[in-house]
């Protein structure tokens, strides 16, 4: 019999019951909750007079609607009354049901996919869900983690389980060493460019190979975060020493004898050598260059040295029409060099790229330089209150402020513009977030997805440049 993939192992370890109709009950170790996708789930519990199955498996935090300024005012500082009600509703629900919440003024507050790993609430081998598609982030720790809808949030609250169908296994192997200035973000954008936004639909993707295991946990989280942009709900990386070193002393991590027991289990969380994948995709890491998205789908990416493609050269009529529509929305012409795209704003943040390493990479690029006068705004939004504190201890805030970038309080911010941070109509933004969909960062806004180092380089020049030219061969 063939060996098991990491996904097979995680599935088997969480299988409560295999039903005759092909569906299965899967146990959920951790549910993360935020204010946008939970209110209707709590209301559903109340209407059906149900109680949460297991309180300690849940952890809540407001992140999507929170302002990134004036945070000492707490909930009162949320100017938009509709946003405020949503955050207050989360507070009320957590208080009523007895669920642990890092409220808006708690230093541990932050983006839900940043705080889970930061607290050790995300541990290797867990099954983790959240009403947010970027829950795939947690797969970087060898977890079975994916986004769910609000009905399923309610289902997990009430039963600690989900009804699932087993997905297929895909291995994306990136071998070779990444060049200087090439980050996890560039790797994942290159993968999405290769397999397309639906390439992973129906699959759980394991990211493997030398280039992936050479990355820090931050880099791995960036890659798993965007597996949903390749269509895969689940993205994973096998556990190695880097994983264990990252989690072992976190506040929610086990201690003493329990820790030793956990670590020996965590070491088993990798695909067996003879495991069989339904699909394997291979990339040469050493050939990946810094990436920039030019269109309205994350698969519409180019090397920074490239040009905007010409739809006329696309054979597939549906794809061609999509490109024409994207270029019209973006206000861009075919064959324009990527480096000639003029920018209005720069956003460094989001659950994809707001961790300490991301901020260090960006700071290294802007240090001693000034933001281009042609920009309306360049902002840095740390992923959590603790990331913010650490960055300030390292002096990164001063580097950003001296260069002319804004230094904000933690939250989802301009990634999806549910708070006050948004693009104006027609504005181009170099953004470290995950989606370049029409209107995502604001009505009529135009998003270009890049790494933190590339966003920082663009902030200095007011247009895209190859960050490697600003680095003298050093790694950012």
């Amino acid at each position: 019999m063939a060996g098991k993939t990491l996904y097979d192992k995680l599935w088997d370890d969480h299988l409560v019951k295999q039903r005759d109709d092909g569906s299965a009950l899967i146990y959920i170790d951790r549910q993360l909750l935020h204010e946008v996708t939970s209110p209707q789930a709590f209301e559903g519990l109340r209407l059906a007079n149900r109680k949460p199955w297991r309180l300690d498996a849940n952890l809540a935090v407001p992140d999507h609607n929170v302002p990134t300024t004036d945070r000492e005012k707490g909930v009162e500082g949320i100017v938009d009354p509709v946003s405020r009600i949503q955050v207050e509703t989360l507070d009320k629900n957590c208080d009523e049901f007895g669920i642990l919440e890092f409220k808006i003024k708690d230093q541990r507050q932050g983006i839900v996919h940043v705080i889970g790993p930061e607290q050790g609430a995300t541990l290797p081998g867990m099954s983790i869900v959240c009403g947010d598609s970027h829950t795939s982030t947690h797969g970087a720790f060898g977890c079975l983690a994916h986004g769910i809808g609000t009905s399923e949030v309610e289902h997990v609250l009430a039963t600690q389980c989900l009804v699932q169908q087993k997905m297929k296994n895909m291995l994306v192997r990136v071998d070779g060493e990444l060049g200087p200035g090439v980050t996890g973000k560039d790797v994942v954008l290159a993968i999405i460019g290769r397999i397309g936004t639906a390439g992973g639909t129906g699959y759980a993707i394991e990211f493997g190979g030398e280039a992936i295991h050479g990355l820090s946990m931050e880099g791995r989280m960036t890659i798993c975060n965007m597996s949903i942009e390749a269509g895969a709900r689940v993205g994973m990386v096998a556990v190695d020493q880097t994983t264990i070193d990252y989690v072992k002393d976190r506040p929610f991590a086990p201690t003493g004898e329990m820790r030793d027991k956990a670590i020996s289990y965590w070491h088993t969380l990798h695909s067996d050598d003879d495991a069989v994948f339904d699909k394997v995709v291979e990339l040469d890491g050493s050939a990946i260059e810094p990436q920039v998205s030019w269109g309205t789908s994350p698969e519409m990416v180019s090397n920074v040295g490239g040009k905007i493609p010409d739809p006329a050269a696309e054979a597939d009529p549906i794809k061609r029409e999509g490109m024409v529509r994207a270029l019209a929305y973006m206000g861009l012409k075919p064959n324009t060099p990527i480096s000639e795209i003029q920018l209005d704003r720069v956003f460094i943040g989001s659950c994809t790229n707001s961790r300490i390493e991301d901020l260090r990479e960006a700071a290294k690029v802007v240090k001693g330089r000034k933001v281009s006068a042609s920009l309306k705004q360049a902002m840095v939004v740390p992923g959590s209150g603790l990331v913010k504190v650490q960055a300030e201890q390292e002096g990164l805030d001063r580097v950003f402020l001296e260069a002319g970038l804004e230094w904000r309080d933690p939250g989802c911010s301009m990634c999806l513009a549910m708070n006050a941070d948004k693009l104006g109509q027609g504005e181009h933004c170099a953004s470290t977030s995950n989606r370049n969909f029409e209107g995502r960062q604001g009505f009529g806004g135009r998003t270009h997805l890049v790494s933190p180092a590339m966003a920082a380089a663009a902030a200095i020049h007011g247009h895209f440049v190859d960050v490697r030219e600003m680095m003298n061969g050093e790694r950012p």
């Binding site: 092909g22 209110p39 809808g149 289902h155 009804v163 794809k319 529509r325 209107g439 009505f443």
Partner: protein, 213 residues
């Protein structure tokens, strides 16, 4: 949840692939704490010329008359015909809530994004996967025949055209069973409460750290 067994209705063609859930219902409407009332803001950025706001009376807004759902012949549509990877992106269940609130019961496409597909079944909305060539054929039939209707039968797993042509589709047994009967799947899962407790008991022994926080 509203059950769905058979449904016959007007078909609206939305001829684009990779329609994401941000497009189905933009972020500003996600601030609601209710499950209902999203219909007027379905496809908001395609449907109207201005930027919509929550709690606004959408009947007073300037509409994009080119958009399919603003055309008289499609205003009463309850079946949406569209292209591949429909519902990609954000997991927001507000997307099926908005489609259902507008009056859609069935969505036909060559493929759907996983999370969206799953969310539909929780809301009395049936996503039907048909081959690309069949979808192409349906697009041209809809275009050429005002008042074009399809008959969808979940009991038989079929879609029937006005000329009597029948196409079969697949749905997995559990989702189909719940949708046919309008079942609350939490209730179904709780019938297995003993199995869940037994799992917890055994997992607590092998991985005790998962139960100590």
């Amino acid at each position: 949840m509203r059950a769905l067994t058979q449904h016959t209705g007007i078909v609206a063609p939305l001829d684009r692939s990779n329609v994401d859930t941000d497009m189905i219902i933009p972020k500003q409407f996600l601030k609601s704490i209710k499950r209902t009332g999203f219909g007027p803001n379905l496809f908001d950025e395609l449907r109207y010329l201005d930027e919509g706001q929550p709690d606004q009376d959408s009947s007073q807004r300037p509409i994009n008359s080119d958009f399919v759902l603003n055309q008289d012949r499609y205003k009463a549509a309850s079946i949406l015909l569209t292209r591949s990877n429909f519902g990609c992106g954000s997991s927001r269940e507000h997307a099926p809530w908005a489609l259902e609130d507008f009056g859609f019961r069935v969505i036909i496409a060559p493929s759907f994004a996983d999370i969206f597909y799953n969310n539909c079944f929780k809301n009395g909305l049936l996503p039907v996967v048909l081959d690309e060539e069949i979808v192409d054929q349906l697009f041209s039939e809809v275009e050429n025949q005002p008042g074009y209707e399809l008959a969808v039968d979940l009991e038989a797993n079929t879609v029937t055209t006005p000329s009597g042509e029948v196409f079969e589709f697949d749905t997995d047994d559990f989702r189909r069973h719940c949708l046919l009967n309008g079942l609350d799947d939490i209730g179904v899962t709780l019938e297995d409460a003993d199995a869940i407790r037994a799992y917890e008991e055994s997992r607590r022994k092998t991985a005790p750290w998962l139960f100590s926080s």
